[in-house]
């Protein structure tokens, strides 16, 4: 066990830190499209500097470094308040799933443009009637002339209108649940695909609804084989987790630092009740960071496991408690003119829903880690 950075890791951290200091693109512009363009340009800058796909194999355009270095890179990005690369879903889900389940041909076709940001990816899992119950997707893929025609509706698809590829889960047979789905990579830039923005309670349109009307997918774009979509999708969701703990924790600590400023500005830094609620959040944030590192150590040894659900549950709960505490500190001042904290308060409510609700995460822990019986 060693919680200090190795000389190599330290050197890498310092390199990244210095590079980010010199190349930080500055504040994000206003407007959601402008921001996307900005993040796309930023991804190209990262790519040109060799910082896209830190832990991806060199054969596919990555840096071939360790998961630990990827984590260090993520932390330094957060620390520098650098924007996230535009093709985040391609980087953390699309690429890994192609690497794990794709054919050699698929890897050669899809991976490099993910890193460069040339081809943006989006995700088409959830549907209006398939939220927590992903296996209930109704979108159908029908075999027509040696290819597939997709018809159905997806929701919560971020940047669908800017994406080239969609990781799409569709029904390919009437077989039993969990055996009837297939994982496709669907071209978004075709006539059969219609994207409609979905406005959230924050007022933003981070997400979209996507309608498929006999959209075409070639046979070559099936990942993991027909009928194995559920298993591939589950693995995809796991990829989101390991190593996320550490950079999420740092993000929260930075917000907690702002909260500490707010507490002091309101003269509450000697209030034992407020202090302890704040400190409790610091403690829990630190355990997220540490749970993240422990999960990372496990992930290095093999496939990421369901323990990532622990971090996901904690992350959502802390973001919600933190913003609630901020409004308790604000008191009267919370009535108006607090756009930043208001945004965070509202946005945090989605944290226990997006990427699998906290209830589903608890099911995962109960069934997969503790081996408790499943409710049938």
């Amino acid at each position: 066990m060693d919680l200090s950075l190795s000389p190599l890791e330290l050197e890498f951290r310092d390199e990244i830190r210095a590079w980010l200091h010199d190349h930080h693109p500055g504040p994000s512009p206003d407007g959601i499209e402008e921001q996307f363009d900005f993040r796309l340009a930023w991804q190209r800058t990262l790519h040109d500097a060799g910082y896209a796909g830190i832990a991806w194999p060199q054969a596919y355009g990555g840096r071939g470094a360790t998961l630990m270095q990827q984590t260090i890179f993520n932390e330094e990005m957060v620390r520098a308040r650098a924007p996230a690369p535009a093709n985040i879903l391609g980087l953390i889900m699309g690429g890994p799933v192609v690497m794990a389940h794709g054919t050699e041909e698929q890897k050669r076709r899809f991976l490099a443009p993910i890193l460069s940001g040339e081809e943006v990816w989006c995700q088409g899992f959830s549907e209006p009637d398939a939220g927590s119950d992903l296996a209930a997707v109704r979108t159908r893929a029908e075999r027509v002339d040696g290819a597939w025609k997709i018809t159905g509706q997806k929701v919560w698809t971020s940047f669908a209108h800017r994406a080239k590829w969609c990781m799409l889960l569709a029904r390919t047979s009437e077989d039993a649940r969990y055996r009837n789905l297939t994982y496709f990579i669907c071209d978004m830039q075709q006539p059969g695909v219609t994207v409609r923005p979905l406005r959230q309670i924050t007022g933003e349109t981070e997400f979209n609804e996507v309608f498929f009307d006999t959209a075409a997918v070639a046979d070559d774009n099936v990942i993991g084989g027909v009928g194995n979509g559920w298993q591939v999708a589950l693995a995809t969701l796991m990829f989101e987790r390991p190593g996320l703990g550490a950079s999420s924790a740092l993000q929260i600590r930075m917000t907690l630092t702002e909260l500490a400023e707010l507490i002091r500005a309101h003269g509450l830094d000697a209030d034992a009740g407020i202090r302890r609620r704040y400190a409790q959040l610091v403690v829990e944030t630190e355990t997220i960071r540490l749970n993240g590192y422990r999960g990372l150590a496990r992930a290095i040894d093999g496939v990421p496991g369901p323990e990532g659900s622990i971090v996901k549950i904690q992350w959502a709960a802390i973001n919600q408690s933190l913003t609630e505490l901020a409004f308790d500190v604000l008191g009267h001042d919370g009535l108006a003119d607090q756009p930043a904290w208001t945004y965070r308060l509202l946005r945090a409510r989605a944290n226990s829903i997006e990427g699998g609700t906290s209830e589903i995460q608890r099911n995962i822990l109960a069934e997969r880690v503790l081996q408790l019986p499943r409710l049938r």
Partner: protein, 354 residues
């Protein structure tokens, strides 16, 4: 002793509920419409509801805080704008002024609704904020246990950026304002009770929406309300809502009949209602899953109202501090515990040992 509404009180609640139900869609729609109008106020004032708890001498009906709180709860349920609430809260404060001329000057217009009063507060930085004050004749701003009156309210008020989309927060400089010199300190507590009543209505409606959704939404081959992760969540909402409602009814009755018990009762009501409204609204949003996070679904409006209304007057922490002080942790002044301990049927006043 009998802790339930009498027939007349039930009738008031039902009448406002029916009236508001018809207007709720309009209130909820306000969030999408920048040229908002208040669908509630004309009808409420025309039907005389504005006069409900104003003393008869000044053109009112002389009913109590309890009756008023029933109206305000139902308006909270419907996410009504702050016009009625503000006028009622201002009325309670003006009625408590030490100066007879204040009552004479402002209460008749409040009772008839012809010179509507808005309610707000002076912020930490000395700025004034009032709810839906545009078009009001006067504004009453709570300030440090007292209140200031701005008369007349200038036209063209600036709108501040508030979290609540169904109400507007207007900036009103309290510079030219007159102090009310609220004589009875309990008037501010009566306004706390109105705020709490509104929050109970907000929580009630959010809970009903969650329960309804849980019955209809199917996942894994069952309505989600059959899963304890959802059904126990809803049961916890019920505990919060009913407890807050009990506390508000009791506090309102206490305001009308046993003022010495009001500080304790009002603090209990505010704490219970603030907790209930936020946690129920947030929990109801969670029950709705992704759908609850969409702009189109009204559940976030309840969350927003819960947050905004909880920022009026005393915070939950401040009220908890007061409760602690009233029940044995009052610094050096506390009596010995045994001597002061009441039986509960000694009334709320005795429960706080004052």
């Amino acid at each position: 002793m009998r802790f339930d509404l009498d027939d007349e009180q039930r009738a008031i609640k039902q009448a406002v509920h029916d009236l508001s139900a018809a207007r709720y869609d309009a209130a909820a729609a306000n969030r999408r419409d920048s040229t908002r109008t208040d669908e509630f106020w004309p009808e409420l004032s025309a039907a005389g509801w504005t006069a409900l708890s104003v003393p008869e001498r000044w053109g009112g009906q002389g009913a109590g805080v309890l009756e008023l709180s029933l109206v305000v709860e139902e308006l909270g349920y419907a996410l009504a704008p702050a016009t009625f609430f503000g006028n009622a809260a201002a009325g309670l404060l003006v009625a408590a002024s030490q100066h007879e001329e204040h009552r004479q000057r402002w209460l008749p217009g409040i009772a008839s609704g012809e010179r509507r009063a808005a309610f707000g507060q002076v912020q930490r930085d000395g700025a004034g904020l009032a709810l839906d004050a545009e078009g009001a004749a006067i504004a009453v701003l709570a300030f440090d246990g007292d209140a200031l009156v701005v008369d007349p309210v200038p036209a063209g008020l600036e709108v501040a950026d508030g979290i609540d989309l169904t109400r507007r927060v207007h900036r009103i400089a309290p510079r030219a304002a007159e102090p009310l010199h609220v004589g009875q300190p309990h008037a501010v507590d009566c306004v706390e009770i109105l705020i709490a009543a509104e929050l109970v209505g907000v929580a009630q409606h959010a809970m009903e929406m969650a329960v309804e959704f849980a019955k209809q939404r199917q996942q894994f081959g069952r309505p989600i309300g059959a899963y304890q992760a959802v059904s126990h969540r809803c049961a916890d909402m019920l505990v919060l809502v009913e407890s807050a409602r009990s506390a508000v009814l009791s506090a309102a009755w206490t305001a009308d009949h046993e003022p010495s018990g009001l500080p304790f009762a009002a603090s209990v009501a505010k704490v219970a209602a603030v907790n209930a409204a936020w946690h129920v609204a947030a929990s109801a949003l969670q029950v709705h899953g992704g759908m609850g996070f969409t702009w189109e679904h009204p559940i976030h409006l309840f969350l927003r109202r819960a947050s905004a209304s909880s920022r009026l007057l005393g915070s939950a922490d401040q009220h908890l501090d007061r409760v602690a002080g009233l029940t044995g942790l009052g610094g050096s002044d506390h009596r010995t515990a045994e001597a002061a301990l009441p039986a509960a049927t000694d009334g709320a006043a005795a429960m706080s040992r004052h």
